[in-house]
Structure formats: structure tokens, C-alpha cells
Amino acid sequence: MSINATLIGQMITFALLVWFTMKYIWPPLFDSLEERKKKIADGLAAAEKGQESIVLAEKKAKQVLKEAKEQSSEIVSLAQKRANEIVEESKHTAKQEGERLIISAKAQVEQEIQQAKEGLRKEISTLAIAAAQQILGAEIDKAKHQDILNKVSNQLG
């Protein structure tokens, strides 16, 4: 149980162990630990950044989608408006055309009536003459009325 030179031997061993640990063991292991810590921290930071950019991209995508929706609805309303306009316009032209057609038809009818009237007028005179001839034929003697015929002929001539 006595204290003896073992103490000195142990102190030397201890000093050697501490020296060796300080020189060859602690630095490389500790450095690798620190390096890994840094790597992990970097990785985590990058992951966070990625997440952030995802959120940002999502936001942007939403915005773009919203804009696109707005645009499309605008386009649709515009198209609707235009379509309405076109319909209105075509209605208008149709109406005009119709009126125009009606007017021309009326004019044609008028003309045809006039023509018919003209034709009738012409034929009436012929018919009247024929009828008159018929009537006169029975009563009129050519010799008897030679004077009148001659007068007419003279008039014509």
C-alpha cells in the first residue's frame, strides 16, 4: 500500500498518453467531427433554401395561374361581347337586307303590275276592237261605211 517509485512510472506513462492523445488522436477525430457538423449544417441550410424556393415557386405558380385565369376570363368576355356585336350586326344587316329585298320586290311587283296593266291595256284595245268588229261586223256594210274607212285610212296615211 505504500507510495513508491511506481508513482513516477505512472506519471511518465500518463504524460506520454496525454501527449500522444493531444498530438495524434484528438485533432483528426475532432476535425472530422467539426467537418461533418459543418456538412450537415450546410445540407440543412440548402434543404431549407430549397423549401423556401419551393414555397416561392408555388406562390409564383399561383400568381401565374391567377393571371392566366383573369386573362382567359377577359378573353372569354371579350369574345362574348364580340359575338354579341356580330350577332347584333348581322341582325341589323339582315334586317336591312330584308327591307331592301322587300322594297325591290315591291318595286318589281309594281313594275309587273304596270306591265300587266300595259299588256291588258294593249290587249283591251285589241279585244275591244275585236269585240267591236264582231258587233260591227254584223251591222256594218263595207260599202256603206267606205267613207269612214277611207277617212281613217287618210288619217293614218
Binding site: I3, N4, Q10, M11, L17, T21, P28
Partner: protein, 258 residues
């Protein structure tokens, strides 16, 4: 002591035999070969393991060995960071060495008390104490080394005058200088003594209880030695931890400039 052991018989003889070192030389200039051998062997084991781990150390995915070494290193580093606020290249490796070495010393206590001495006996070695921490020389060697570091750093950081001032004028001011000096000297000297005796006492008592259990009939032995061994796992780790933490705390006190 050796002659006493020869003379005693029975239980006393058995106990004394187990607690006697393999010794060469006489008086102060004698050596406990068993303590020197086992502590050097365990120190070598520690160095070998950590050197291997350090050589293969990468910042990538660590292997099993590196993982284990890093676990211990991180644990020690955390303790150092918690207690020590200066900058020192020495203190963390010192703490690591103390923790591992003392733990390995203490771990020798987990071997059944008769195995290694028995094998040594077959080889013709009469006495063998396998647990270095049950040898006061081993524990005092460590604590005195720590004490030297405490003094060294006290003088280095505070300067010889600053350190002398601290010894003389604290805690009660310059009017009570002799009293202060006495108090401070006792305080400083108590550090290595308490460090060494705490470790020695715990492990010596633990070993003694294992030896006493080994004296009982074989059918009772497991009943007692198993729980004691389980409990001892806690003690050996705790003692290694205490030695390390106190070393860090003492050195951190030495670094503090008032």
C-alpha cells in the same frame, strides 16, 4: 506485506494475497510491476483504438469504430465546453485520456477476482493486482500530474505575482494574509488528494467486496456478485467521469483571472 501474506491463512490470507502487489525493489525505490504493466497495457489499448479511429476518420459516414470514438470525443468535448471557458489545446485531450484510461483501469475490476491472478499463479507469479486504480500510486500519479498542471496554468495565466496575490489576499482580503495563505494552500493540496483518494477508495472498496463475495460458498456467489457487478458498471463509469470533470473544473479555475 509479502511476508505477512505468507504468514496469514484462511480468509484473511486470501484477502491479503489479493491486495498485495507484485513488487520489486525495496523502500521507496520499488516498483509495482502489476500496476505499471496493466496501466501501460490499458493505455496502449486506448491509444490503439483511438489511433485506428483517427486514421480512418472521415467527415463522411463514419464506421462503427469511428462512431464509437466520436461518441466519446463528443461527450468529453461537451463536458469541456460546459465547464471550461478558456482556450486550451491541452485540456480536451487531457480529459479524454483521463476518462478513457481511468475507465479502463476501473474496468479491470469487472474480471472475476481470481481469473487473472490465477493465470499469473500458474505462470509462477505469486502476487497480482489487476486493477490499477486500487493502487494509490496510480491514482496519485494522475492527480499529482493534474495538480502540476493546475499550478502551471495558475502561474502562466495569472502571472507569478497574480497567483501569489490570489494565494495571500483571498478570500478575506489583505489583513488576514497568513490565514488566507493557509486556507488557499490547504484548498490547493486538497484537490489532488481528494481526486486520488476518491478514485482509489471507491475502487478499492469495490474490489474488496468482490473478494469477500468470492469467499462465500459458490451457490451464493452469483446472487451477490451479479448485482454488485451491475452496480459496479455504474461506479466505474461514474468515477472515471468524476475524475475527468473535476480535472476540467480545477483547470478552468486555474484559468480564471480574478
Amino acid at each position: 506485506m509479502a511476508t505477512e501474506a505468507h504468514a496469514a491463512e484462511g480468509a484473511t490470507g486470501y484477502i491479503i494475497h489479493h491486495l498485495t502487489s507484485l513488487r520489486v525493489g525495496e523502500g521507496f525505490w520499488s516498483l509495482h510491476l502489476d500496476t505499471l504493466f496493466f496501466s501501460a497495457l490499458l493505455g496502449g489499448l486506448f491509444i490503439w483504438f483511438f489511433k485506428n479511429a483517427a486514421e480512418k476518420a472521415t467527415a463522411g459516414v463514419p464506421g462503427l469504430m469511428q462512431n464509437f470514438a466520436e461518441m466519446i470525443i463528443e461527450f468529453v468535448d461537451q463536458q469541456v465546453k460546459d465547464s471550461f471557458h478558456g482556450h486550451s489545446k491541452l485540456i480536451a485531450p487531457l480529459a479524454l485520456t483521463i476518462f478513457c484510461w481511468v475507465f479502463l483501469w476501473n474496468f479491470m475490476d469487472m474480471f472475476p477476482v481470481d481469473i487473472l491472478p490465477g493465470i499469473a499463479g500458474l505462470m509462477g507469479i505469486e502476487y497480482l493486482r489487476v486493477v490499477p486504480s486500487t493502487d494509490l500510486n496510480a491514482t496519485f500519479a494522475m492527480s499529482i500530474s493534474v495538480f502540476c498542471l493546475i499550478i502551471f496554468y495558475s502561474i502562466k495565466i495569472k502571472g507569478p505575482i497574480g497567483f501569489a496575490k490570489e494565494l495571500m489576499f483571498q478570500p478575506f482580503g489583505p489583513w488576514l494574509t497568513p490565514f488566507n495563505l493557509l486556507l488557499k494552500v490547504v484548498e490547493e493540496i486538497a484537490k489532488p488528494i481528494s481526486l486520488a483518494l476518491r478514485l482509489f477508495g471507491n475502487l478499492y472498496a469495490g474490489e474488496l467486496i468482490f473478494i469477500l463475495i468470492a469467499l462465500l460458498p459458490w451457490y451464493i456467489q452469483p446472487l451477490l456478485s451479479f448485482p454488485w457487478a451491475v452496480f459496479h458498471i455504474l461506479i466505474i463509469t461514474l468515477q472515471a467521469f468524476i475524475f475527468m470533470v473535476l480535472t476540467i473544473v480545477y483547470l478552468s479555475m486555474a484559468h480564471e483571472d480574478h
